[in-house]
């Protein structure tokens, strides 16, 4: 007979409650780590997917994501002429709020340099890419728009022709892709008050194209020849003086270590606290479970049970609490996190680390329990 199972079976509701408790702790840990991963992956989404080896941005500005940046709309042609450059595209992005069917929608309007870029790198799950130079848009599903919807941006109406999934900016606002020319038009047609504020230098926004930069683009996205030396291309463009060149790694560093630094540290700190709490609670539960059975353990010793009988009972229960709790926690996580407003990225590697942590925690706690159980003397039954 399996003592561990018999014990649990005799008080099943309590065991299940414990599993749910441990499960929620693990759900919270998965969520915290996943939120952190999600924020980073959202922030790096465009940088990692747009196909840029280099970004040409306004001189002295770490744009277009960490700081604002505005450069000449014809800069792409200049860049295209540099030896080693395979392609140069214009990039524009601005936060826009508009009304749709009576609700306010906040979107990060991003320009695709049509017709070179029709959005082939987007995760389009429904509909199609851009096919016209004007008035078509691809919207992320998080914006709540459907294929065929018409939205008004600036003074024009745009038709939603494609839907993407999981494409948001660092703030979590859904991306709305239009052609670069449309994006520039939209960015320049903000209300007059905003324009005034911006002109007076009072609007400190990180938008890729702020109102004062109407008619300008935020950056040029540069793809290099496979054979080209990136440092050489950088040096050539850098010598022009009016622009700076940032690599993909530079953009990563700017976002993660500067723009998102505080947020990251904060989330990591909370994650750390949560993991410590999880460790303490799980260990206490497992250790207490053993303590509660010391009398029975003494009895087992009295009737001559080998230590292996006692050890395996403790270890099995610890494993059931630890791994069972993990399974429950993961189940909750899979069920509820997709409903959260921000992306919670549950990565296999993180799950593996977490399950490893749970196994170690359960192992350490049960070894304390075992050490205590080994000290129990058979005659304590009589106490």
């Amino acid at each position: 007979m399996n003592l561990a199972m018999k014990d649990i079976g005799s008080n099943l509701s309590r065991f299940l409650l414990t599993l749910v408790g441990v499960g929620f702790l693990i759900t919270a840990a998965i969520g915290m780590v996943g939120l952190y991963r999600g924020i980073i992956s959202d922030a790096l989404l465009i940088i990692d997917n747009i196909g840029a080896d280099l970004w040409v941005v306004q001189g002295g500005h770490a744009g277009p994501f960490a700081e604002s940046s505005a450069i000449s709309p014809t800069m792409d042609r200049r860049v295209d002429g540099v030896a080693g450059v395979a392609g140069a595209r214009r990039f524009v992005q601005s936060s826009q709020q508009f009304e749709f069917e009576g609700r306010d929608v906040r979107a990060s309007v991003t320009g695709l340099d049509f017709p070179e870029d029709v959005g082939g790198w987007l995760r389009v799950v429904r509909g199609r890419h851009l096919a016209s130079a004007h008035f078509e848009a691809i919207a992320d599903v998080s914006l709540g728009l459907a294929l065929g919807d018409e939205i008004r941006l600036g003074r024009d109406d745009y038709a939603i022709v494609g839907i993407t999934r999981g494409m948001v900016d660092a703030q979590g606002d859904g991306l709305l892709f239009v052609t670069v020319n449309d994006a520039m038009t939209i960015a320049s047609r903000r209300n007059s008050e905003e324009i005034l504020l911006a002109r007076n230098g009072m609007a400190e926004t990180a938008d890729a194209a702020s109102a004062s930069n109407a008619g300008r683009i935020a950056a040029v996205v540069v793809g290099l020849d496979p054979a080209a030396d990136p440092e050489r291309v950088r040096a050539v463009i850098g010598r022009w003086g009016d622009v700076d060149v940032l690599s993909r790694d530079d953009q990563h560093a700017l976002l993660l270590d500067q723009r998102l630094w505080r947020l990251r540290i904060q989330i990591l700190a909370f994650t750390g606290v949560l993991l410590v709490v999880m460790a303490i609670v799980i260990s206490l539960i497992i250790y207490t479970m053993t303590l509660e059975k010391l009398h029975q353990i003494a009895m087992l010793k009295l009737i001559g049970a080998r230590n292996s009988v006692i050890v395996s009972m403790i270890v099995q229960q610890a494993a059931m609490i630890g791994l069972g709790g993990f399974a429950v926690g993961l189940g909750f996580a899979e069920a509820i996190f997709p409903l959260f407003p921000r992306k919670v990225a549950i990565l296999p590697g993180d799950l593996f680390s977490l399950v490893l942590a749970v196994v170690v925690i359960s192992g350490v706690a049960s070894s304390f329990g075992i050490a205590r159980a080994m000290k129990v003397r058979a005659q304590e039954v009589l106490a």
């Binding site: 005799s10 029975q296 010793k301 009295l302 001559g304 009988v309 003397r377």
Partner: protein, 245 residues
């Protein structure tokens, strides 16, 4: 008829150091228990009865003297209690004032457990447990957990558990103290039968004067020493002559 004793306690002592003073819980006790013999241990509170049972049951080591099973010395000062667990499992059954059943196991499981930890297959262990419990009048309560059994029933399950391995020696410390007189008498009669039928040697510590007639021999303790031995059936077996005070 000269049978050799199952249990021989020789000059056993157990002294506890308590600060400056030494408590002589047991102070040089010798006696034998033969197969089929029901021995009662009586004496005032604190006279060392339980201590003697712990030492005879290989749950504690003596600080002096030794304990022998079937002529072989198994416990002496400086020995190892942990190393005696296997021996204990096969040779000694225990019954205490409280039944001390494992609460999350049924009556049958509590009894079968003893066999299973001695590597008896589950089905055989279960069958044996059922027979034993039925023999003790608990055939209807096999699948009840201890919490649903009366005190007397629990105590009978505890006795079945002690008997499961068919040990040659049974040690009981005030097994009837928590029972009313009728149930207490039943339990004592059960011990008498077990001694007669199974030829187990049985030592019972008791305060219960009403059942003393069932015992073959009564050993009286006082201050850690044996002060009197009464043979109820002197003809039945060779007399043991302890070095009484």
């Amino acid at each position: 008829m000269t049978r050799s004793p199952i249990l021989s306690v020789r000059d056993a002592a157990r002294h506890y150091q308590s600060g400056e003073t030494v408590i002589r819980a047991l102070d040089g006790v010798s006696f034998d228990v033969f197969p089929g013999e029901l021995v009662g241990i009586v004496g005032p509170s604190g006279s060392g009865k339980s201590t003697m049972l712990l030492i005879a049951g290989l749950l504690e080591l003596p600080t002096g003297g030794c304990v022998a099973f079937e002529g072989e010395i198994v416990s002496r000062p400086g020995g190892s209690i942990a190393g005696l667990r296997d021996f204990r499992r096969r040779k000694i059954g225990f019954v205490f004032q409280k039944a001390n059943l494992i609460p999350f196991l049924t009556a049958a499981e509590n009894v079968a457990l003893v066999l299973q930890i001695d590597d008896v297959p589950a089905a055989a262990a279960r069958l044996h447990a059922e027979r034993l419990l039925a023999a003790l009048g608990l055939g209807e309560r096999l699948d009840n957990r201890p919490a649903r059994l009366s005190g007397g029933e629990q105590q009978r399950v505890a006795i079945a558990r002690a008997l499961a391995n068919d040990p040659p020696l049974l040690l009981a410390d005030e097994p009837t103290a928590a029972l009313d007189s009728v149930r207490g008498r039943q339990v004592m009669e059960l011990f008498r039968t077990i001694a007669d039928v199974r030829q187990a040697g049985i030592v019972v510590v008791t305060h219960d004067n009403r059942s003393l007639d069932l015992f073959d021999r009564l050993v009286e303790f006082s201050d850690g020493r044996i002060v009197a031995v009464t043979d109820n059936r002197p003809a039945a077996r060779p007399a043991s002559r302890p070095g009484a005070a």
